[in-house]
């Protein structure tokens, strides 16, 4: 096993243990952001070392960046749609409970 792969694996397990341990601490509202931040580090390690993005060609990095840009656009449009919706009525429009 190559040294970089072994070290990355050990690092991933260490970060996993850190996440697991911190989940028992009362971090309040910081709990989820901390857990996600550790997740980002782990995902970066997997992407850079295991998936060899760190040494990938320009065309492969471009496809990754394109996915990221499209994902950001998708998230932005979904959030915009949600924020601009009217609140749902408590009963369906036109429903007349007295008539039933």
């Amino acid at each position: 096993m190559s040294r970089s792969i072994l070290l990355t694996g050990v690092g991933l397990i260490a970060l996993w243990a850190l996440s697991f341990g911190l989940s028992f601490a009362d971090l309040g509202h910081a709990g989820l952001p901390v857990a996600l931040a550790i997740a980002v580090v782990k995902a970066t390690l997997v992407g850079a070392i295991f998936m060899e993005l760190a040494s990938a060609s320009a065309s492969i990095r471009f496809s990754v960046l394109a996915a990221g840009a499209l994902a950001a656009l998708l998230i932005g449009l979904v959030v915009a749609d949600i924020e601009m919706r009217d609140p749902p009525p408590l009963v369906p429009p036109g429903y007349d409970a007295a008539a039933r």
Binding site: G9, L12, L32, A35, A43, V64, A67, L74, V78
Partner: protein, 178 residues
């Protein structure tokens, strides 16, 4: 690197990019639901999510990613039998993941928690179920290519497995930890 090898690798990455977009939609829906009903998510995670099993599954996938990466490296070094053994070990870990996931699902059903049982559990079954389907596909693919002598074939299968791992890296804190 030959042009054919590069084309194969680029094609795989384009496919992975489409998979990322698929899960991006679901993560966005999760983010919106959690922003609207934080107390529901907090309660359900702490009352019914099995943190230990979810964490064991996370460790399983992290180790499996390490093993399949080592398998690809071994094949590049022309150590075919070692590569095959590492890939089959990855497959075994993948099957362990699915077994634990199945056990969790059965336990949830015994507690009358099914898809449609509120926004949290609907998202849970949708996202982890879709992920589990991807794990199944990864297990089958790795089993089929475990004995290949072509590095690019194993590399592409390993890339898929790493993406499955990355997706779970984010599912774990969202449904088990916080």
């Amino acid at each position: 690197m030959t042009q054919r090898t590069h084309a194969a690798r680029l094609g795989m990455w384009v496919f992975l990019a489409s998979e990322v977009l698929l899960f991006t939609v679901l993560f966005t829906v999760y983010a919106d639901a959690r922003a609207r009903y934080p107390e529901v998510f907090h309660h359900e995670i702490h009352a019914h999510a099995d943190k230990v099993l979810g964490s064991v599954n996370t460790a399983i996938l992290l180790v499996s990613s390490t093993l399949v990466a080592a398998g690809v490296h071994a094949l590049k070094e022309n150590q075919r039998s070692r590569a095959t053994a590492l890939v089959f070990a990855t497959v075994v870990l993948g099957l362990c993941f699915l077994g634990i996931k199945g056990h969790e699902y059965i336990d949830h059903v015994h507690h009358d928690i099914v898809p449609g049982h509120g926004i949290f559990w609907t998202l849970y079954f949708t996202m982890t179920g879709l992920h589990a389907l991807h794990v199944c596909a990864g297990v089958v693919t790795l089993s089929l290519v475990a004995r290949t002598k072509h590095v690019i074939v194993l590399e592409n299968a390993a890339l898929y497995w790493h993406l499955v791992d990355v997706i779970w890296i984010f599912l774990w804190p969202l449904f088990y930890l916080a």
